[in-house]
């Protein structure tokens, strides 16, 4: 399977050149950028590991690409995403988020159903990647 979170998961994986263009777009808007990674891409796993703090006031995509390289080397089998933050009043949230690395094999998710009263069902999703250990 392919985890399709983020802005560009339906496209072929972005090249470094394409990633740089997106980072430049964010820089031009005055947004801060961050790199995050995880071994558990559960749809409701909000907090991936931060690869350092978000980078504020950067002028050059090279700084972000350097952090991304570092994160890739240290976490070759993780999902990695780049986020952009807009601190404009009334927004103050994430305004871009796209996956820039994914593991060679994406194991996907198990859906469990717990039957309840009547025909009620309680659903629970868990990542197969979390089964090891």
């Amino acid at each position: 399977m392919r985890v399709t979170q983020g802005q560009f998961s339906f496209l072929p994986d972005l090249t470094d050149d394409e990633i740089r263009k997106q980072v430049n777009y964010a820089i031009d808007q005055g947004w801060a950028l961050s790199v995050e990674h995880t071994e558990d891409p559960h749809p409701r796993n909000t907090y991936w590991h931060m690869w350092g703090n978000p980078m504020f006031g950067i002028r050059d995509a090279a700084a972000v690409m350097m952090e991304l390289d570092g994160c890739r080397k240290a976490n070759a089998d993780d999902y990695i995403r780049i986020n952009a933050f807009d601190n404009t009043r009334g927004v103050e949230s994430i305004v871009m988020s796209f996956i820039v690395q994914r593991p060679a094999h994406e194991p996907g998710f198990r859906l469990q159903r717990q039957e309840g009263e009547g025909r009620m069902l309680k659903y629970s999703t868990s990542g197969y990647s979390m089964d090891r250990a």
């Binding site: 009334g90 998710f109 069902l121």
Partner: protein
């Protein structure tokens, strides 16, 4: 700023003796009045009957939408009467009407209302005042409420959208692109199990949301509980297939509040992130559902069913921009606001005006988009506008260019009618969307290069190639009924 006026207004002395007075003479026409920062200000487009002076017609609108009745009453003298009188303070001829045209003379009448006229936090009360009687008033041939400036002091008495664009995106983990949806088709006749199949295919293929249509409630062919159960199985399975948060707008529209609460409660128990209501349930019911959603972490989707009966004609009714303002205050998270390029009514600039009303922090006067007044939303949450109705993947560049990222693009027929199946239809739309966002961010001129950008993506994405081929000639190029008219000189406030 204008404090409550001292002394009797013109004509008030005559009230002791009773009888019929002209509205203008009773104090409802005050050309020198400057609206206060706490006044509600309305712009009416009026078509007076033959022989009725425009100022008198404007004064009559002010009178009939505030405290006046058709004759003078001595009981007015028991009240601080001037406070309750609305004041028509400006009248302009509408360009392109009157002598030498095919249209009877129309006028833009600006009317100010003191804040004391309105109950805090009640759309029902605001609308009962402003549109209660006046639209049936005989001295006018026609009347349309074009725009409204709601003062910050009044805006702050409404809770607004239960979720808002920002929090919705954070909950759904979807950023930096329009959200993608589809309305389930056919509208009528699918059993719960068949219906859930369409939901499953659409969401697994790449949609973020699927949607009940406005008239899907609980009919003989599909009981609402069946629909909810099957759809939530589809939603959860699609989530597991893709690793993305998905949703289906569960239409809880029903005959009574009790029934709507019961349906919404069941949707919540099944883990739905969103419920839906139709505009026809009415403002009070909408505000109640907004309260319920706020209490239960639920997004509230609204389909504007029925609005065309009063928003479409230029000379009579209410502009949708006014409805949009009321609904932002009443508290909906999604609102259908037009596509400009699809099958339903909508001049592009006018539709952009509706979008701006829903999602800007402050609307500046923008006459070409039909925005007559500045409107400060004083941090009221933003509503996600929904573009739905006769749109397809081949228009992606136009949609993104017109509406930007903060909207929902809903392709119903444009998903389910795909020759390769529903999943293929969903994938085609998602690929088209992501391709166009990426190209825009890369600095490409999507207005001009859009079709070429889509064709490039179609080379590696067969479903997109099929979609572009199937719908390449579909366009709805008709002249819009509702486009803005405006005088060249800017208006006040």
């Amino acid at each position: 700023m204008n404090a409550v006026q001292k002394g009797p207004a013109k004509g008030i002395k005559e009230k002791n003796s009773g009888g019929v007075l002209k509205y203008a003479e009773m104090g409802y026409w005050q050309p020198d009045y400057e609206p206060s920062d706490t006044d509600v200000v309305c712009l009416f487009r009026i078509t007076p009957q033959e022989g009725v002076e425009p100022q008198e017609a404007a004064a009559a609108v002010a009178g009939e939408s505030s405290t006046a009745t058709w004759t003078v009453v001595w009981t007015d003298l028991l009240t601080a009467h001037e406070s309750y009188q609305a004041k028509a303070f400006r009248v302009d001829m509408v360009p392109g009407t009157g002598a030498g045209t095919d249209t009877p003379a129309q006028y833009f009448a600006h009317v100010a209302y003191d804040l004391v006229l309105f109950e805090e936090g009640s759309i029902a009360n605001m609308t009962a005042s402003l549109i209660g009687n006046v639209f049936s008033f005989k001295p006018l041939k026609a009347c349309r409420l074009e725009d409204i400036r709601i003062p910050a002091a009044y805006v702050k008495t409404f809770k607004g959208p239960p979720t808002g664009i920002i929090v919705e995106r954070e909950r759904l983990d979807k950023f930096g692109r329009p959200v993608l949806g589809a309305t389930m088709k056919p509208k009528l006749g699918l059993s719960g199990r068949n219906y859930g199949r369409v939901v499953y295919e659409g969401l697994t293929g790449g949609l973020d949301f699927t949607k009940d249509d406005e008239n899907i409630n609980s009919q003989p062919f599909m009981h609402w509980r069946d629909r909810f159960l099957f759809c939530m199985d589809a939603v959860n399975k699609a989530q597991a297939n893709t690793g993305e948060v998905k949703g289906h707008y569960m239409n809880v529209t029903a005959a009574t509040m009790e029934e709507m609460y019961e349906r919404a409660e069941f949707a919540k128990q099944l883990g739905s992130v969103i419920v839906m209501v139709d505009l026809v349930i009415g403002y009070t019911a909408i505000q109640s559902m907004a309260n319920w959603c706020r209490k239960n972490d639920m997004i509230l989707h609204m389909h504007r069913a029925g609005h065309g009966t009063y928003t479409r004609q230029r000379n009579h009714g209410i502009s949708f921009r006014v409805i949009a303002k009321w609904l932002r205050l009443a508290g909906v998270d999604h609102l259908h606001a037009g596509t400009a390029v699809g099958k339903l009514e909508g001049d592009p600039m006018t539709v952009q005006g509706f979008y701006n009303v829903l999602r800007e922090s402050y609307n500046h006067q923008d006459l070409s988009r039909g925005i007559f007044y500045d409107q400060d939303w004083v941090d009221t949450k933003k509503v996600m506008p929904v573009a739905s109705g006769g749109i397809h993947a081949g228009q992606m560049h136009q949609l993104l260019s017109l509406f930007g990222d903060d909207c929902i693009l809903q392709f119903g027929g444009g998903t389910i009618g795909h020759p390769g199946g529903i999943q293929a239809g969903a994938t085609a739309n998602r690929v088209a969307l992501e391709t166009m966002v990426k190209a825009r961010n890369e600095g490409r001129d999507i207005d001009n290069e859009g079709p070429e950008i889509l064709q490039q993506a179609a080379k590696w994405c067969t479903p997109l190639a099929q979609a572009l081929d199937t719908w390449k000639d579909v366009a709805f190029n008709y002249t819009s009924t509702d486009a803005p008219d405006f005088a060249v000189t800017p208006t006040v406030a």
